[in-house]
């Protein structure tokens, strides 16, 4: 058996670095956490605060403040729900959408660059493995429970 922890330790750090790189679009500069928030709002349809906070496993009070920041930066819009007046529905502004898309593209470019160091077969294998890993983690009881 390998030392799995060693492998994951290194991988985790590199992911952390990759994440940090990717959050500057023109004059707009956001944190990795904020980038995750934009990503998730973009992905869901008219989500509430709770939904996004849960999806990224973030404390709701911290999340509330992050959203306030993003609203001030005019990247996110909070619309009161008509069905339930306690709820705010989140969406990206035009600028927010632009930022999210640009980050997505640059992340994909980064990843393409990383994958360019492999041959086709290796690429396929790695992609398939990451899917497997994601599935296994979602089945796992020890972590990741709040994540889809």
């Amino acid at each position: 058996m390998e030392n799995k922890r060693e492998l994951f330790q290194v991988l985790t750090r590199r992911f952390g670095l990759l994440n940090k790189n990717c959050c500057s679009v023109g004059t707009v500069d956001i944190s990795p956490v904020q980038s995750h928030i934009l990503y998730e709002i973009d992905k869901q349809i008219a989500p509430s605060m709770q939904q996004i906070a849960e999806a990224i496993a973030m404390d709701i009070t911290t999340f509330s403040r992050q959203i306030q920041t993003l609203v001030k930066m005019e990247l996110v819009k909070k619309t009161p729900s008509s069905a339930d007046k306690r709820v705010y529905l989140l969406s990206l502004t035009l600028q927010g959408k632009f930022v999210a898309t640009t980050i997505d593209e640059s992340m994909n470019a980064y990843l393409e660059e990383v994958f360019s160091h492999m041959n086709e077969f290796e690429k396929e294998t790695v992609i398939r493995s990451i899917k497997l890993l994601n599935q296994a983690m979602s089945k796992s009881s020890v972590c990741c429970t709040p994540l889809l």
Copy 2:
């Protein structure tokens, strides 16, 4: 082509969560960052502050303060180098070693649990893929440059 970013976004989040889980040993409670520091000190031989800070790609000033905290917690020992009096050599105390080892074991247990949802062939493939990915990232110019 797949959407790689989607896959990595989810994986990154799950790793983040895994990381957070794993830092409480008895009455000692440390942050994920501190756990990385302990890990890296344990791995190297009589490293200097610079060396560790660079290995985990952390700002040296932040690192300096983290070390101060860990020294107060009696997990890390700072020994002035006799060869160069500017330098401090880092090592784990007995307690620090214990904490590092315990975290290592519990991380490995977590990972075993995750891998238990795969068959033997899948396990092999995934492990091999992560190695490939690590290699590719270390060759990459866009990230990870400071990391071994």
